[in-house]
Symmetry: C2
Subunit: 284 residues, 2 copies
């Protein structure tokens, strides 16, 4: 049932990855096709994906504005719905992946080089993206209050004054931020998860849900750690690892939902893995 | 909870309309957020919407190729998923609506004029779109076998030899085709439904589902008539009209699903109404 997708360039695949990510169910603790939160709803993720497209297109344009400004544009568009932050972290991973796929082979090595070659301007634009939408982030490293991402463009100027590139900013964020850790290492978890997604079978949203569950059972989610502490993050990891199938995941979903525990970083990784899998022929 | 969407031009709103249409549930007889068919699945509508985007962008480009070629391009991209025809009829309504919104005010009069001003080339490209995907259509009018849309590009050449514009082709199709009837009249049902959708309240997908139900109860669906005959089409209309709310619609959905009765033309009208509502500020 595989259908070639010659008209789907990297930007289209990235948008479709955002849509498939939210279509996969159950994804314990997250909004999905059959779960809304009171103030964050499925259709706001649909609008977030459509709104992010111009930024994804910019990342896929060889003559475009580069990773940082493409990301800032994607976040600006994503934010034009009433739910707030739907896919900030997804876009943070997807933009460099799209850039990599646009400029050559989509491999870990090349993602690493794309992220390493980011500039001071990319870092400045990255911080500007925080002015578009409220994002849950951990405290900045000791002595680096000026770089607190919640300061948005001001933090961008502080980073520029220090000559920091987006790669440097990611390195500084690694301890508390799973997405930064992924980016500086060429997205190893996303690539591994994509391989397993391609080796899996069944409809794409089911593969997405199983990918999410495996990633959640693999390592503590850093958004859960930021919002609920390390103990809860480990508990969620262990319980996900103990799920044998999506039925078990459904029971975990009900519990996390009740406790407002939202493993958002794992959703980001799932979207990134889905993008890599789509680029490599995941059937839809 | 309304959020401005300055970055959502007509093409983005049209893509979002396609996504919201399939996110509305229950939509009796159709694929939606909680209903797949064995051979036609929710995620294939997501991919169809993303794949249709380049054609929608072409329609939104003042220097673009015009209605017919934009439609053909949208259908080509929509077809790059394994489910077959997901949104052919939706795109047939959306492309002229996007063109109208791009070139001035989005009003019934102006839609009518956009459709009236289509050319022989638009008609030729319209028929070419049928070569990308299998579409259920009624038999052509008596003596017009050469214009049977199922012949694709060959029918396009036959239409061109007769000097027919896309408007002429729509006029010929009016008796059996609800979308053609809508197009030659400036989409009156879509505009009326959009007004009611804007006056409604609640989340966008619920408004979409109620719009679908009202349209289905308003007039017999022409795809149901083509596939199951006039008696079934009237029965479905009457039963939809008797539904007091979405719970009733859920019961009708279970029955239509079992009988494989698919009111596809009503889904097309719903997508068109959703587009008009989004252009006029429907909150998401």
């Amino acid at each position: 049932m595989s259908t070639p997708r010659p008209d789907f360039g990297p930007a289209a695949h990235a948008e479709l990855a955002l849509l498939l990510e939210v279509a996969g169910t159950p994804k314990p603790g997250n909004v999905d096709r059959t779960h809304d939160f009171a103030d964050l709803r499925f259709e706001q993720f649909l609008a977030g994906a459509v709104g992010g497209r111009p930024g994804l297109d910019a990342a896929a344009d060889p003559d475009g504005p580069g990773v940082g400004r493409s990301f800032e544009r994607a976040v600006a568009g994503m934010s034009q719905q009433a739910g707030g932050n739907t896919q900030f972290g997804c876009l943070l991973l997807l933009i460099p992946l799209v850039r990599t796929a646009t400029t050559g082979m989509l491999s870990r090595d090349r993602v690493e080089r794309v992220v390493e070659s980011t500039t001071v301007d990319d870092a400045r634009a990255f911080f500007m993206a925080f002015d578009h939408v409220k994002v849950a982030v951990g405290d900045p490293p000791e002595g680096l209050d000026a770089l607190d991402a919640r300061r948005g463009a001001d933090a961008g100027e502080a980073a520029a004054a220090r000559g920091l590139t987006l790669f440097d900013v990611c390195l500084l964020s690694v301890p508390g931020d799973g997405n930064a850790a992924e980016l500086v290492r060429g997205c190893p978890r996303a690539f591994r998860a994509a391989d397993r997604m391609l080796a899996d079978d069944g409809p794409a949203p089911d593969r997405v849900a199983r990918t999410f569950l495996r990633l959640l059972g693999d390592r503590p989610d850093t958004l859960v750690r930021t919002e609920h502490g390390a103990t809860v993050a480990r508990e969620v990891r262990n319980r996900a690892a103990a799920c044998a199938d999506l039925d078990d995941a459904g029971r975990l979903a009900a519990d996390l939902r009740e406790r407002s525990v939202n493993p958002g970083t794992t959703a980001d990784l799932t979207a990134a893995a889905t993008f890599v899998a789509l680029e490599r022929g995941l059937p839809v």
